[in-house]
Amino acid sequence: MEKRDQWDSRFSFILAAIGSAIGLGNIWRFPYICYENGGGAFLVAWLVALFTAGIPLMILEFGLGHKMEGSASEAFRKVNRKFEWFGWVAILVGFFIVCYYAVIMSYCFSYVYHSLTLAWGDDPSGFFYQTNLGLTESPFEIGGIKGYILLGLFLSWIAIFFSIWKGVKTVGKVVYATVLIPWFLLLVFVIRGVTLPGAVEGLTFYLTPDFHKLLSHEVWLAAYTQVFFSLSIGFGIMIAYSSFLPRKTDIVNNAFLISLANCATSFLAGFAVFGALGYYAVKVGKPVAEVVASGPGLAFVTYPHIISNLPFWQPLFGVLFFLMLLTLGIDSAFSLAEAVAAGVRDKWKASHRISNTAVCSVAIIIGFIFTTGAGLLWLDILDNFMNKFGLSLVCLGECILIGWVFGSGKIKKYVNGLSEFRIGVWWDIFIRFLIPVILGVLILAELLERIGSPYGGYPRLAEFLGGWMMVLLLPVLGIILMILKRRE
């Protein structure tokens, strides 16, 4: 039997898992969510969510992957042959996400270049949406493929392909650059952000607690949602990554360290973002509340505004900022691709070269749709449905299948046998009761909202094709992949 790949060292594994968890969301989602949900008070809810849901789920995925020595599909097949399809669903959620994630990286590629000349001029919004994307009015008005976004997409996939060239052997080396460089750059932006005049205005917005908001269930749901989205759980990545660990390792310590490092990065990112927003607000004479933004709007519209208004070295800070986004995104992207490739290798005993080529080729073809004029609209719909339904349903399924059907006690016993810090009955309670209830509420709330009105005001047909249909495709494709004959 061929020996399973193994990480070079525990440090490589920790860096790879941190790199996977840390992504664009840490920069452009967390600070905004924090500000919107009570500032400093949100931090309380967020830390509670981290310790009661994020870390327990991380321990579950690490324990499952390590015990079963397989990718998500293989691990669930070893739990019970009938559950293999569910492992494929987790992998497929990650696969659909990486199809558009690579396109966002392509935007970053083009903005590294545009930063050299501050090409957005006085109108970053028009430059991003019209000149750069050629954004159309409706998802059905496809428009043409944008050549340089397509070029950026190819560059992204070439980078991903070579990062997973020999599986975790290569990943373990690449992550030294793709984790340490963005951390260093983030530190540069934190220092730059908090030393700008007016930064305190922004930081006051970010951190001033409104404790009354802790009485609102919406703040708690936002905190749990942020934790679920941010830790790269539910995509089969952590299951696959931990399956490559040596037999003797500390599961609980790894889970705590990786989760805390991810959250510390988000927290620090808030200083860089809100420091810069405070400076910009003072500069243009507007309240911080009027300039605050999140998502691609923050990165590609608001931040270019801020970069243009910096007192010196604007092109340098522009290049460094988009390089930071690029390096933050790439390890999340290749971890998603590696989770799929590992599933293909486990099922069909394919070589690294064949599995990687197959995964990257199919993903790049699907990615074409996101390089068109309507690409950002389809990306937005798919992103919402994959996260709000795909990811949430996978996490819920994991809690039910492992917590109730397989028995959380078996994973707990296995994990405690390896770890210095032992998990107690609290872990069973979180996995079997608390997390499923919270996820159930989240899914139900989103379902009711979507029944009431289509996501983002898009036409119902577009919402169905880009959202509901893709979610429904997950179990169908999962079952097809399960039925396909495996190579022993």
Binding site: G39, V44, P209, E420
Partner: protein, 31 residues
């Protein structure tokens, strides 16, 4: 910046970075 904001900043930093410090110490000690 209000005092409450500074308190939240310090407490969150202590939990996150203190936690990272403890986990790293435990990992290195075991090594």
């Amino acid at each position: 910046m209000p005092f409450s904001a500074i308190v939240m900043m310090v407490v969150t930093s202590l939990v996150l970075f203190g936690g990272i410090g403890i986990c790293t110490y435990m990992a290195l000690r075991k090594k």
